[in-house]
Symmetry: C2
Subunit: 505 residues, 2 copies
């Protein structure tokens, strides 16, 4: 099982069919296969060796897509970087994975130069300029890595505050495609617009699944609701994968009126919960679309459960729409208590997962890997229950995490930065319900005795070290001690209640 | 990846939905899961240990279905036996796999007694009587074998005349299901009637695929066209998998007239080529059915290529209907010359296969296993070409094999038996085109000087040692030497031409 096999298959079964369309250039699957073989040759020519980590920093594009195939073709491991990270965060991830090369687009040329200055051994290749030079070189043979060989490292925030590299194998990523294939019905008629960031694991299904079935890829650099609506009409887009926040923006965008969006047949959303009232509004706005919801984690490639279009019907059983759906084909889901025993049917416990989509571990981090597994089962840290019809309901997240606009934000990471401020004695970061983003980041800070600090100063302090989306949108400064549990843990639920409406889901 | 995971999933996502219906008894998936756990407990109670081989000899039934899950649940390996074999052939296979137990239905009770007399260590369990005793016992936990662990041994005739045990792992069988899932769209609404023999690898997709998606299984003990047509109407059957010979019988059966067969949505056929004129007649007779064709071997679990419903449309490109379709999702197909090099695109060569459905090898037969692979690719022995649209055309079989009514018959096996007759000097067995069976077995025999032998005597001689379907349907006795090639090989093509119309495909 090789990711490149999907590309080879597309070039065989749909040779002259279009594979990518971007910036006015359409390439057939046969052309794409040859181009990827030359790009991989170019990478090897620039010193890339088997098993090397190649980071990618850029907005969605056909070059990004090609890189996701050229890297495994060359026998290397892709490290897609979050474009919203601060330079310090990118540095930490490049250092952690020991990247040999950084592919970047023009928007990140300056960032790439800063990073190259920090890592003298790091080769940089521009996806907008150098890329064509690589594509003009000679082809190289498929390195034929596959199965349990690592295909990608996807960084995810950690409860300890340090990002962890989730190592996903070829088999992991392919099994996610196979598990969802019967539901999504990709084929040569699929016209997929990449609107979610391609660095995110959620887009892997689109990249590798649409290719395996010989569909056609279109690209939007970043999400812009009006642009997406125009593209659906102009390009006859049939498939989108996005986060609830984006879906809500599409529904509310004035550009929607009068547009012919009838080509859009299927929408996959996931990455965070969507309040049921929002779901109903979205379904009503696109009555001809079949909606699919996915629940999962980066560590599970990512899909654990799937909520089918039938479950989105107005006539579906109560509670279906607020559930996360049923386990996908080859994934085992168990609900366990703190001791690791199965809870009674229907009871609440930690969601644990086993199957061919579960990561082998975190990159060079055996402690974190060991902590993530118990008896061969991956512990999501999320709390849920399974109803008598086999639907998973995610009740809460055990890992102290905020999901804002589909991005995971670990409270500990933000708290660590706040605590580095000289005036901060103690602090807590929580998510509060937000109409547009699902949740937004809120901080409660207690200054050191005799010192004062304001909201703006703390926000600026955070921006220097953290991606913008992780920085607190609001800060309460208080002289009272933070409320503690009997065990001495900060009572975040209490702080959330004080800060705003309780979290949904 | 465990076969039992599919059963567990069905019991979770479709707990109260019907799983099997047979002899007036319908069992829900939840009941079936508990029953399989008890049956496995019964097997363990009768001494079955991890890795033991358990042979099954019986017609299609819900007990057969349960056995296919109870055996892996107990950690053992299933050995489904061909019900049409002669006792001597069954003995050879039981001896080869070293079976610890034989499950058999009432129709094979006498055969089971004969076999038990030959193998004193062989436990026998009746699927019609003892089975319920086993099901009344305590549950046992899932042995949780999976992945590359052997799940089944499927015997296939060999060019050397000795049957070889094809070892298929859990992952092999599951990947065949995953590769076809997007095409077949199994779901809780699927109502599958098992009409092809369940011992055959082709039925594995129905057993394991319909279960994984929570569909409903019905069973016909043996194929009978009139009965099948009645069952389609009475049970609202939506899905059948069968060989071309059966399909032709359904079309020609007078019972078809006046029956409401509108529930039948999908038919999968494979196991041998179907002449294009027959295909067109079948398609015309069932205009509302979506037809799928599969090409493959036992060694490939079995599906290598798939011909989709669209390719069966009257408007499909010329040559599509006579092709074997396109490679399934995760299977690589290459066309190689005798030296093992890829032929030029479109050229004819040996069909070679690689992917997660390819067997690990033949049971305790490293020589045969080594001969079947070259550089990690499985050599099918079949000759074919791939057209510019990625469709495989099977031109001929390099292995000297006849396919009659979907059963593979190796000429060498029949020739070996004929040569054991004292009057036979030399002989050749070939397949000649047959309207009903695709091919039928024809023998050309040259007696020893001064001796005579007749067709009937030779047929009786064969019946003592071979399954009926392998015995020559016609025998030409000749005093002329058999025609030889320059290299001294019997010119079978020449003999075929003399015996009847040349083979199609």
């Amino acid at each position: 099982m090789r990711l490149t096999q999907g590309l080879q298959r597309a070039a065989l079964v749909h040779a002259h069919g279009p594979g990518t369309s971007h910036g006015g250039i359409t390439r057939s699957w046969q052309e794409l296969k040859a181009r990827v073989a030359r790009l991989a040759g170019g990478l090897v020519g620039r010193g890339v060796a088997r098993g090397d980590r190649i980071a990618i920093l850029g907005f969605n594009s056909s070059s990004y897509f090609e890189a996701m195939y050229a890297i495994p073709w060359a026998g290397a491991i892709a490290v897609p970087l979050n474009t919203r990270l601060a330079v310090a965060e990118l540095e930490a991830q490049l250092a952690d994975c020991g990247a040999a090369m950084l592919l970047h687009d023009t928007a990140f040329a300056a960032t790439a130069r800063s990073l190259a200055a920090v890592f003298p051994g790091l080769a940089t290749v521009g996806l907008d300029d150098d890329w064509q030079d690589l594509a003009d070189g000679p082809e190289t043979g498929d390195a034929e890595r596959g199965g349990d060989d690592p295909a990608g490292i996807f960084y995810t925030g950690g409860t300890t505050g340090r990002a962890k590299g989730v190592v996903l194998s070829h088999a992991n990523l392919i099994h996610n495609v196979l598990n969802l294939g019967p539901h999504f019905r990709f084929g040569p008629d699929t016209r997929c617009l990449h609107v979610s960031p391609m660095f995110h694991i959620a887009d892997a299904l689109s990249i590798f699944g649409v290719t395996l079935h010989g569909g056609l890829h279109f690209f939007e650099p970043k999400f812009d609701a009006a642009a997406v609506l125009r593209r659906i009409e102009a390009d006859g887009i049939t498939y989108l994968a996005l986060v609830p926040t984006m879906l809500k923006m599409l529904v509310e965008c004035p550009e929607r009126e009068g547009r012919d969006l009838s080509s859009l047949a299927r929408v996959f959303y996931g990455g965070s919960a969507m309040p049921e009232t929002t779901s109903r509004r979205v379904i009503a706005a696109f009555p001809h679309v079949r909606f699919h919801q996915g629940y999962g984690l980066t560590e599970t490639s990512p899909t654990i459960t799937h909520l089918a279009p039938e479950d989105h019907d107005p006539g579906a059983a109560d509670g279906r729409l607020s559930s996360a759906g049923q386990p996908v084909l080859t994934v085992d889901v168990a609900i366990r208590d703190d001791a690791g025993a199965d809870v009674a049917p229907g009871e609440v416990g930690e969601i644990c997962v086993r199957g061919p989509t579960v990561m082998q571990g975190y990159w060079r981090n055996p402690e974190a890997t060991a902590a993530a597994f118990r008896n061969g089962w991956f512990r999501t840290g999320d709390i849920g229950r399974i109803d008598p019809d086999g639907y998973l309901h995610v009740v809460d997240r055990a890992k102290d995490m905020i999901i804002s606009g589909g991005e995971n934000i670990y409270s500990a990471e933000v708290e660590n930065v706040l605590l580095q401020h000289p005036a901060v004695l103690e602090c807590a970061v929580v998510g509060v319900a937000d109409e547009n983003w699902g949740e937004r980041v809120h901080a409660i800070v207690r200054p050191r005795p005799g010192m004062t600090v304001g909201e703006t100063a703390l926000q600026e302090h955070c921006r220097a070290a953290l991606a913008r989306y992780k920085c607190p949108r609001s800060v309460d400064v208080t002289d009272e001690p933070l409320p503690l549990s009997g065990a001495g843990k900060i009572l975040k639920a209490e702080l959330k209640r004080r800060a705003g409406a309780p979290r949904s889901r």
